[in-house]
Structures are given as structure tokens and as C-alpha cells.
């Protein structure tokens, strides 16, 4: 197969494929980071994670329409506004959900699974009733469309670069929050020893709520970013769940670094296999490999102790 191409072409093939893998990696990280925070730090499974992402996407849709109607001259920057609003909206919804029922279920992770699944059904139906069953199209600003030619044959899609940049910013932000800020300290304290943290004066309920809201907010930004590369419809959230969960579990849920490492591994494996095999088989093989490795090492890549 490679004999038909010159070495320059082969180089560009690998370069483009490498970038495709990096874009996929960024997508996985964005999807998984929000969930990893919630699951890893709090042990809560949020099956409605995809729906929070789609909330971000719908918010982006609304904002793009708003700008198109009232502020057409500023259309170029609407995307940044949309991302911020998505973060706030998804975070607010997350806080509401946490306050209404998640906080009663912290000791019962399997039950949160079921309850959040019910939440996802309700959210899907709300989207369907409000926005219609059809998918909505989000118009991108011009500067986000097209690709950047790095050389004659290598072209990188701009929105891919944007997603990669966004991922770096968010991952960096989360790292900073978690490990360098006072609030992050408090979160880690609550995770490691809740009664002691409460005894020291940390408002554990408030910390939980903010953490959950943060995780959902990041999901909202991810959804907003995905309007560039995917579809926005009531059931679009379902497309992302299984992959996201696997990335988080594979990484060893205790560690955010693990999430990033696992996203990298899975995305590179998948995009490499996609190149040499057909799409379906690549997906199946990737899933099988992940499950297989998980069976041998169930605690994931970076785990501190065995998970129950």
C-alpha cells in the first residue's frame, strides 16, 4: 500500500494522521475531564454527562442565533461568549441536580448511576420538546472554518487546532485549580477523609456542589466545542457516553493524569487502527483491547489502590 507514494507524500500522510490522532485525543480529554472530576473525586457516576454536553451545544446554538439577529458585526467572537455561557449554564444545572438528589446518594454509587440515567432521559425529552426532535445546525464563524496548510500537502483543520488549544487551556486550568489552589486542596481533603475535613471546618456540602457543578460546566464547554465537529440533537449525547466512561475507567479514576494518559492511548490506538482497517473493526478492536486490558489490570493505568 505504501509503495504507491513518494516519501514526501508518506511523510505528509503520517503527519496528517498524527494530527488526526491528536484531535481525537483532545476530544476525548475534553469529554472525559468533566466526568473524571466527578467520578474520580466524588465516586459519582453521571450517566447524564452527554446531556450536559448537549446543553452546552444548544446554548451555543441559541447564542449564535442571538448574535446573528442582533449583533451581526460581532459574530466572529460569539463563540467565546457561547463557551462562557455554556459553562455557566451547565454548571448551574449541575448544581441544581446535585442539590436536588445527587447529594443524598453519595454512599450509593450504583444508585446514582440509575438516577442519573433517569435524569438523562428527562433532559433528552426536554430538549426534544423545546428544540424539536430534529437536529439543529450551528453556524460557525468564518475564522473557524477551513484549514491551515503547513506545507504543500499537509493541511490541519482550524477547528482541530482550536479544540486542541481549548483542551490545553482547560486541562491546565483544572490542574491549577486542583493542585495549586486553596479550593483544590479542600476538594482533595474531602475526598480523602470526609469526616476529618468537616471537623477541620470545611463545608463539605458546598465543596461537593461546586465540584459537581465544575464537572458539568466543563462538559458544557466540551459540548459547545463539539458543535464544530458533530451534530446537535436531543439524543446526540448518547453517542459520547460509552467512550467517555471507558477513558475515565481505563485511566484509573483516582487520577486526572491517568485520564489524560488513557485518552492519549485510546485515541492514538483508534486513529491508527482506523487508518489501516475499516472504521467499524477499528472501533470494535479498540473497545476489545481496552476491556481486555481492564480485565487484566482492572484498576486502570494509574491507580493508587484497588477500586471497589
Amino acid at each position: 500500500m505504501f509503495s504507491d507514494y513518494t516519501s514526501a507524500e508518506l511523510l505528509s500522510i503520517f503527519a496528517m494522521q498524527g494530527f488526526a490522532g491528536l484531535i481525537l485525543f483532545s476530544v476525548f480529554v475534553l469529554m472525559a475531564l468533566g466526568l473524571a472530576i466527578i467520578f474520580g473525586q466524588m465516586g459519582v457516576i453521571n450517566m447524564a454527562h452527554g446531556e450536559f454536553m448537549i446543553l452546552g451545544a444548544y446554548v451555543t446554538y441559541l447564542i449564535s442565533n442571538l448574535f446573528a439577529t442582533y449583533l451581526p458585526s460581532l459574530f466572529g467572537i460569539y463563540f467565546f461568549v457561547a463557551m462562557i455561557v455554556s459553562f455557566i449554564a451547565a454548571g448551574a444545572l449541575g448544581a441544581l441536580v446535585e442539590w436536588s438528589f445527587i447529594r443524598f446518594l453519595y454512599q450509593r454509587p450504583l444508585d446514582t448511576l440509575l438516577a442519573t440515567w433517569g435524569l438523562s432521559l428527562i433532559l433528552q425529552q426536554i430538549y426534544r420538546s423545546v428544540f424539536g426532535a430534529r437536529e439543529v445546525g450551528v453556524t460557525l464563524p468564518d475564522w473557524l472554518m477551513g484549514s491551515v496548510p503547513l506545507s504543500e500537502t499537509i493541511e490541519i483543520p482550524i477547528n482541530g487546532l482550536f479544540v486542541m488549544g481549548l483542551t490545553l487551556v482547560i486541562a491546565g486550568g483544572v490542574y491549577f485549580l486542583m493542585f495549586k489552589s486553596r479550593w483544590g486542596c479542600q476538594v482533595r481533603a474531602v475526598v480523602q477523609n470526609r469526616p476529618m475535613a468537616a471537623a477541620v471546618g470545611i463545608n463539605t456540602a458546598k465543596i461537593d456542589r461546586i465540584t459537581f457543578a465544575l464537572g458539568c460546566g466543563i462538559a458544557g464547554i466540551a459540548g459547545s466545542a463539539f458543535t464544530m465537529i458533530g451534530s446537535t440533537g436531543p439524543t446526540a449525547g448518547q453517542l459520547y457516553i460509552v467512550d467517555t466512561f471507558l477513558v475515565v475507567v481505563f485511566g484509573g479514576a483516582a487520577s486526572l493524569l491517568g485520564t489524560i494518559a488513557s485518552a492519549f492511548t485510546i485515541s492514538q490506538a483508534q486513529s491508527t487502527m482506523e487508518f489501516f482497517l475499516s472504521g467499524s473493526m477499528a472501533k470494535v478492536l479498540t473497545l476489545l483491547t481496552v476491556v481486555g486490558i481492564l480485565m487484566i489490570r482492572p484498576q486502570g493505568l494509574f491507580a493508587m489502590k484497588v477500586r471497589k
Partner: protein
């Protein structure tokens, strides 16, 4: 009671007992008996038919992932029924419909179809969209002898006495489209791409056979799971192999992702290097994809909303009046619209609602009022129709660039392509 009010009362209310009243009563009973007998002729199998009404079923997904696509079909069928009723109905009877939700779940389709046929005894069912739903309901229709009008373009390989297929089958859509792109655009190499299930795979098999028959080359063939959203790898492969034509049969949510990513990767479809030809994107799908992302792609269908003929103009106007001026109408929606009209024509030709008689009367039925122009029912229960190629515009509509001169004969079991 009716008799009394019809044939008059006197103030004392003993109307029936007078002599005049008795004669009138007997006359009424005889008239009723004759009408009843007439009705019996029209309906010998116990379908839900009265003197005033006939009941049909509409079976589509109102909820679930398929709701996006099936909404148009429901709207079209309801509009057709409304128009038929305004014209006097079928055999003098107004059409009443029972609508059931398949919920994008094939077993539910089977269950609801059984309910419509066995419990509600409907005279016809307009429904289904995916092949899976049709396959699930087919045994029910064959066991209970119902008639289904199925609107979606599909892979063929089926010919049931209990289904009328108002959408095109694969050879009609594919062969004409490929011939056109070879002749008009000088295409020599093709890259086949599709979602991973029966329709794209079967269609690509037919496409490949035809391409190779013409002596041309298929440089790649790929399938991605339903719902897949990351196409950068295959887009890279396409850039690599530099085909003349991308033959895309991507379906559902993947559609949006694919076209957005294609554009983002720098493949500008209006440049036609490569050119993209699809059979799976109608005006409905473009709503989700965004006209600016798919501008420049070609689609092979039998119907486009922009068709310029008096039937279509009237149809689009009526549709917009009913459902809003921003509504779009795709190929399947129009095919669904044909269903009630074809049924009406068959019933009137047969003079009866009996399924067996309707079936016998159907082959040869022509519809000159179809928005797509003209269709005729073939003995294999598919439709003779023209195939057209359209160029996707930024505003979400298709511009017609080619139309077959003759009607394409439907051939669900094509020899040499199997």
C-alpha cells in the same frame, strides 16, 4: 331515533305508528339494508369501514432517534389525508387515521402494527422508515394480510405482496447517478463510504459492480458504526488516494460530523476535486448539517423540493401553509405523501377496500398529480419514477442538474448485481 327525526314527527310523538310513518320506516329500513349490502361489497373482510368513514393507520417514530427523520413523513401523510377528505374522501368515505408511535424501536413497530391490523382493523397502514422497522413488521403484515405503504428509498432485495414501496430502491437511485457522474464529470475513480449496516453496504455493492462494469476503479471502501463521529482518519485516506468521486452513504448523526469535518479538513466540495455524490442526504438532513457545510455536493434522488412543475409548486405551497413557511421537504416526505393517493386510486379502481382487491388493482395505477411529476406502480409493488441529480446549495435546497429522460424501472432483485 334517526328515522323519527328524518321522516318527521307530529307533536304527539306517535309518528311511527301512523300509516305514513310505517311506510316510511319500512322504506328507511330497506334503504339502510341496501346501503349495508353496498357497504358489505366494499368491505368483505371486516375492516374498519362504515358508510361514512374508513380508518387507516399511521405508524412512525415520534420519539427516539428516528423521530428526526420520520416527522416529515407523518406530516406528509396527514396532509394527503386532509386533502383527500376535502375532495370527498375515498369511495365517499372520509378517512380517519389512528396514529401509533414506533418509538424508534423495532419490536414496538411490530407490536403496534399488530394492534393496528388485528385490533383496529385498519384498511391500510402508512408507515415505517428504516429497513429494520419494515423487516420487523413484514411478518405481521403477511400473516394478517395488511397493506403497508413504505416511503423510504432503500436497498431493495424485497418484494412483498403486502407492501407498496413508494420510495426508490437501490438500482434506481444508484445506477442513474453513477452513469451521470461518469458521463458529465468524467469520473474515473471512486471512494465508497458508508455507515455500517445493510442499506449502505448493499448499495455500495451495487455501486461497485456498476462502476467495475463500466471499467472504472473503486479505490477505497469504508464503513463506520452508526453514530460514529470522528472521520478525520478516513478524510486523510481520501486525501491520500485522491479519488474523483466520494460516494457517501453516511446516515443519521454521523452525517453532520462527516460533512463538517470534511469542510474543516480543507476539502471544498464546490471545487469538485473530489466531487461528492450521495444518496442519503435530503433537505431534512441538510437542516442539521448546515447548508454551508454541504454546499457543492451532489445527491441522486427522485425528488427535490425545488422541482419546477405545477404539481410540486402546489404541493410545497400547501405543505408550507399547513406546517410553516420554513419547513423543508425531502425525498422521503414526498414519497410518504404519495402513499394515501396511491391507496385511494387503487381502492377506487377496485371499488372495494378489501386488501386482496386493492392489491390486484394496484399494478398499473398511475399518478399524474405527484409532486415529482409522474409515477406508476409496477407489478413488483415498486414505482416507476425518474431519477434526478441535484446540487446542494448554501440555503439548504438542491438545484436540479439532471433528470433521466425515461422512467427508471424498479428492479429489487437485480441480476448481475447479486
Amino acid at each position: 331515533m334517526n328515522l323519527v327525526s328524518k321522516f318527521g314527527t307530529n307533536t304527539s310523538g306517535f309518528s311511527i305508528i301512523t300509516r305514513r310513518g310505517v311506510i316510511k320506516t319500512i322504506a328507511a329500513v330497506c334503504a339502510g339494508w341496501i346501503l349495508q349490502a353496498g357497504a358489505a361489497e366494499v368491505n368483505t373482510t371486516g375492516l374498519a369501514v362504515t358508510d361514512k368513514e374508513v380508518t387507516v393507520g399511521i405508524l412512525h417514530s415520534v420519539t427516539g432517534t428516528m423521530a428526526i427523520s420520520e416527522t416529515g413523513s407523518v406530516q406528509a401523510e396527514k396532509l394527503a389525508i386532509k386533502q383527500i377528505n376535502a375532495m370527498g374522501g375515498v369511495l365517499g368515505r372520509q378517512i380517519k387515521f389512528i396514529q401509533e408511535d414506533g418509538a424508534s424501536d423495532w419490536p414496538t413497530f411490530a407490536e403496534k402494527s399488530k394492534k393496528l391490523l388485528v385490533n383496529d382493523k385498519v384498511a391500510a397502514v402508512f408507515g415505517c422508515w428504516t429497513s429494520a422497522s419494515r423487516k420487523a413488521v413484514l411478518p405481521v403484515f403477511e400473516q394478517y394480510n395488511g397493506m403497508l405503504y413504505y416511503p423510504t428509498f432503500y436497498e431493495g432485495l424485497e418484494q412483498s405482496p403486502n407492501v407498496i414501496y413508494t420510495g426508490q430502491e437501490a438500482t434506481q437511485q444508484i445506477i442513474a447517478g453513477i452513469d451521470w457522474v461518469v458521463k458529465e464529470k468524467g469520473a474515473k475513480t471512486f471512494y465508497l463510504l458508508g455507515s455500517d449496516y445493510i442499506w449502505p453496504r448493499t448499495s455500495n455493492k451495487i455501486a461497485r459492480k456498476h462502476i467495475e462494469k463500466l471499467g472504472l476503479k473503486v479505490v477505497g471502501e469504508e464503513y463506520y458504526p452508526l453514530g460514529h463521529t470522528q472521520f478525520n482518519s478516513v478524510i486523510n485516506k481520501i486525501k491520500l488516494t485522491k479519488p474523483d468521486v466520494i460516494y457517501a452513504i453516511v446516515v443519521g448523526g454521523s452525517n453532520v460530523a462527516f460533512y463538517k469535518q470534511l469542510k474543516a479538513a480543507g476539502i471544498s466540495l464546490p471545487k469538485e476535486k473530489p466531487l461528492l455524490l450521495t444518496i442519503s442526504v435530503t433537505e431534512d438532513e441538510i437542516l442539521g448539517i448546515g447548508g454551508e457545510n454541504i454546499e457543492g455536493a451532489y445527491a441522486a434522488m427522485k425528488y427535490f423540493q425545488s422541482l419546477d412543475n405545477p404539481n410540486n409548486k402546489a404541493f410545497v405551497e400547501a405543505f408550507k401553509a399547513e406546517y410553516g413557511k420554513d419547513i423543508v421537504i425531502g425525498d422521503v416526505t414526498q414519497a410518504a405523501y404519495l402513499g394515501p393517493w396511491l391507496w385511494k386510486a387503487a381502492v377506487e379502481k377496485a371499488g372495494s377496500f378489501d386488501i386482496d382487491k386493492v392489491r390486484a388493482a394496484s399494478p398499473g395505477i398511475e399518478l399524474t398529480t405527484a409532486p415529482e411529476g409522474y409515477v406508476k406502480i409496477h407489478p413488483n409493488h415498486h414505482l416507476w419514477s425518474k431519477t434526478r441529480v441535484g446540487l446542494a446549495q448554501k440555503d439548504g435546497q438542491y438545484k436540479l442538474v439532471y433528470e433521466t429522460e425515461d422512467l427508471m424501472e424498479p428492479d429489487p432483485f437485480p441480476k448481475g448485481y447479486q
